[in-house]
Symmetry: C2
Subunit: 121 residues, 2 copies
DNA sequence: GAAACAATTGAACAATTGTTCATATATTGA
DNA sequence: TCAATATATGAACAATTGTTCAATTGTTTC
């Protein structure tokens, strides 16, 4: 017997069953948008450096991150805003210093998984 | 006793020890660039939809992905190139159909971790 | 209060990105 | 060979991004 809905040129889809079943599981536009934003927050070299540094040291202030990474405080601060907006980092103000740290253990896991993927190449 | 190298305004860094120890662990420019590229590959809504769909169905052809996601074949194909370049997907040609799947289990883990993070919000 | 300092912010700029549209390539079946 | 189909590709466009520079806010110390 011929495999259902496969390779039929007069069909809108190649495999109607697959299309319908996957379609049912799809989440909202908002969900995918937010998911993409989360990955995007980790998609810049300066930001991966910041996150990597915060994996080594629980808390770091802006100037020290700039010194570690070798860029300006301004550039770091701009990127920290992105990380803050996406809730990847939180901060703790002590006098005029602001110590940043990763927001929760999920971020560590997510980042560690990315590290593993790249190290395997 | 005063905490070493903390809050000293005549220092280039706030906490010299932290800066030096983290600096030693930093990876190469290339590494952070590649790591960022990997996250960037997942940082677009259309691409998160593609990856999500491929988490549900091991193999999907371009037309079916377009039908599931609700966009053109061309848009899907362009995004698949990005995913291909970053080795997030591989493909299997059968006649004029090309079935795409996630490249390895690492991608599933990485993506699943991202899903969990967003679902917790 | 004034100077020094940590961090943030806004404007501006080049660089990159994602889509659409049109076209090209490749495979199938008549 | 020709038409239909599946996918890929190139050009073009608006939109977004990351950095730098200059200015600003808020805190500490003198």
């Amino acid at each position: 017997m011929k495999k259902q809905n496969s390779y039929l040129s007069d069909n809108l889809y190649v495999e109607k069953d697959k299309v319908n079943s996957v379609k049912k599981t799809m989440k909202s536009e908002k969900f995918f948008h937010y998911l993409a934003e989360t990955f995007k927050a980790m998609s810049d070299p300066t930001r991966t450096k910041i996150i990597f540094a915060l994996c080594q040291e629980k808390e770091l202030c802006v100037s020290d991150m700039a010194a570690i990474i070798g860029t300006t405080n301004s550039a770091i601060s701009h990127q920290l805003r992105t990380l803050r907006n996406m809730k990847l980092v939180r901060y703790n103000k002590i006098g005029r210093l602001i110590f940043y740290s990763l927001d929760d253990i999920h971020i560590n896991h997510l980042f560690a998984e990315g590290l593993r993927h790249v190290e395997d190449l």
